[in-house]
């Protein structure tokens, strides 16, 4: 496959970036999108041009590090995949592909296609944990009865890998789906009940502080989410938030 790539280049956080056009040739349709970028970078190095910086780690859809807005969609045109799981067979020979970083005030570009996602870390630090001591005297898992449905719901929410596709794709750059998943994974389990009220209040407050937008319920986030996190978790977070706001004693 021969392709024309329009890639966002930006030297650092402060400088203004822009789209650069690169041609790549002889790409296998079986190559992953990141492998195609590797080939492009090899070409750029040979030409004496600085290679394009982009994020990746596991390259098997687990870590949530790769984060590219490809041809107008988070993680590209395929569904339920991260960028590393996207294959070139999803594109046509001769196609022009736009490759941009996530766009959000709360996730500024650091360099080229890499964004600063520490806002997600700060949201997690504000409440996305349980203070149950799990070292030593660990209880048998079956000693704590949990309804199957709640276990499934918590597990589905915990599938969130924090890639940020929900923020990138939301027209308001809202982080509601991410925060909702992190709130819900504990809210459905008994271990999460102790800090449940403070957790949702703190995490929503931190989300607002970071400058993410509001939810308009377009549902775009759940369509683009590589782990298919449902927006029903946003409703769950809203319920948790309302309940905590009305009854929290702190």
């Amino acid at each position: 496959m021969d392709l024309t790539l329009k890639v966002w280049r930006q030297k650092n956080r402060e400088e203004k970036g822009g789209l650069e056009t690169y041609k790549v040739t002889g790409i296998s349709e079986h190559a992953s999108f990141l492998e195609m970028l590797d080939i492009m970078n090899e070409q750029l190095i040979k030409e004496g041009t600085e290679p394009v910086a982009f994020d990746y780690d596991c390259r098997e859809g687990i870590c949530g590090t790769c984060s590219l807005y490809i041809n107008g969609e988070a993680h590209g045109p395929d569904r339920k995949v991260t960028t590393c799981q996207l294959h070139m067979r999803m594109f046509k020979d001769g196609e022009t592909i736009y490759i941009e970083p996530w766009r959000s005030a709360a996730m500024p570009v650091i360099k080229d296609l890499i964004v600063d996602r520490s806002s997600f870390d700060r949201i997690q630090q504000s409440g996305g944990f349980v203070s149950v001591n799990t070292s030593g005297n660990t209880q048998d898992a079956n000693a704590l009865p949990i309804p199957k449905m709640n276990a499934d719901l918590a597990f589905d929410a915990a599938a969130c890998i924090g890639c940020g596709a929900c923020v990138a794709t939301c027209k308001n750059s809202s982080a509601m789906l991410f925060v909702a998943a992190k709130v819900s994974q504990f809210a459905y389990l008994p271990q999460g009940q102790v800090e449940a009220k403070q957790r949702v209040l703190n995490m929503v407050e931190q989300m607002d502080k970071e400058g993410f937008g509001n939810c308009t319920n377009t549902g775009a986030c759940e369509v683009e989410c590589p782990k298919s996190i449902s927006i029903k978790y946003i409703a769950k977070m809203n319920r948790e938030f309302l309940s905590a706001s009305c009854s929290s004693e702190s």
Partner: protein, 226 residues
């Protein structure tokens, strides 16, 4: 420490949803009353006179309605401003239609169109009522010894341009309602495997029946002019 309900993004959306529910209810009763103008002029006059002169409706519910509408409008504008600031640099290539529908993405546009229409609607009906009742002090509802309400309504819809504006505005209202109705439930925290699909169907029905019902009423009066 929490910011409180009205100072948080989730809380604001809940308040937006609650004001939306209130306006949905108001719109339904407005439609039902207007429908009487098609069925019986006398019945429409009786109901209009009751609504226009009842103390509870005029001095309690009407101010609540005005507040509810202004609140919904102001909050919508405020949220849109925050949302716009959350993405200062837009994508060079964006395909939002791949993952969401037009109505859900353009609530501001459809909302502004409804608001502009309300300017005309207030000029046509609400301001003359205020003038008659509160400035001239005439609470009789009579004109030449007969109830004036049906006659005034009927008279307004003789102009094709006005009728056309009303019809176009009702289509925008329908687009706004088609997303707003079901979105309000989600914002308020209501999402149920069994009932949410039913709510979405109800939302579609509501967004068709109410606006097209209003269009029918406007056209009925236009085509039955003497």
């Amino acid at each position: 420490m929490s910011n409180g309900l009205s100072n948080s993004s989730v809380g604001r959306k809940v308040l937006m949803a609650l004001s939306g529910f209130f306006l949905l209810f108001f719109l339904m009763q407005h439609f039902v009353i207007n429908l009487f103008s098609v069925i019986s002029a006398d019945l429409f006059n009786e109901i209009s006179h009751f609504m226009g002169t009842n103390g509870l409706i005029q001095f309690v519910l009407q101010p609540i309605l005005i507040f509810g509408f202004l609140f919904h409008l102001a909050m919508g504008m405020y949220l849109e401003r925050k949302n716009s600031a959350a993405r200062p640099i837009k994508y060079a290539m964006d395909k939002p239609s791949e993952n969401s529908n037009w109505m859900s993405r353009n609530m501001l546009i459809t909302g502004i169109m409804v608001m502009l229409f309300l300017g005309l609607h207030f000029y046509d009906f609400w301001l003359p009522e205020i003038k008659t009742k509160f400035i001239e002090g005439d609470w009789s509802g009579l004109n030449n010894g007969e109830f004036r309400y049906w006659e005034e309504l009927h008279h307004k819809f003789q102009d094709i341009i006005r009728v056309s504006i009303y019809c176009v505005a009702f289509i925008f209202l329908g687009l706004h309602l088609s997303h707003g109705f079901q979105s309000a439930f989600q914002s308020a925290g209501f999402n149920h495997n069994k009932y949410t699909p039913i709510i979405k169907k109800l939302a579609t029905l509501y967004a068709i029946i109410i606006p097209f019902g209003f269009i029918f009423i406007a056209l009925f009066h236009y085509f039955t002019q003497n």
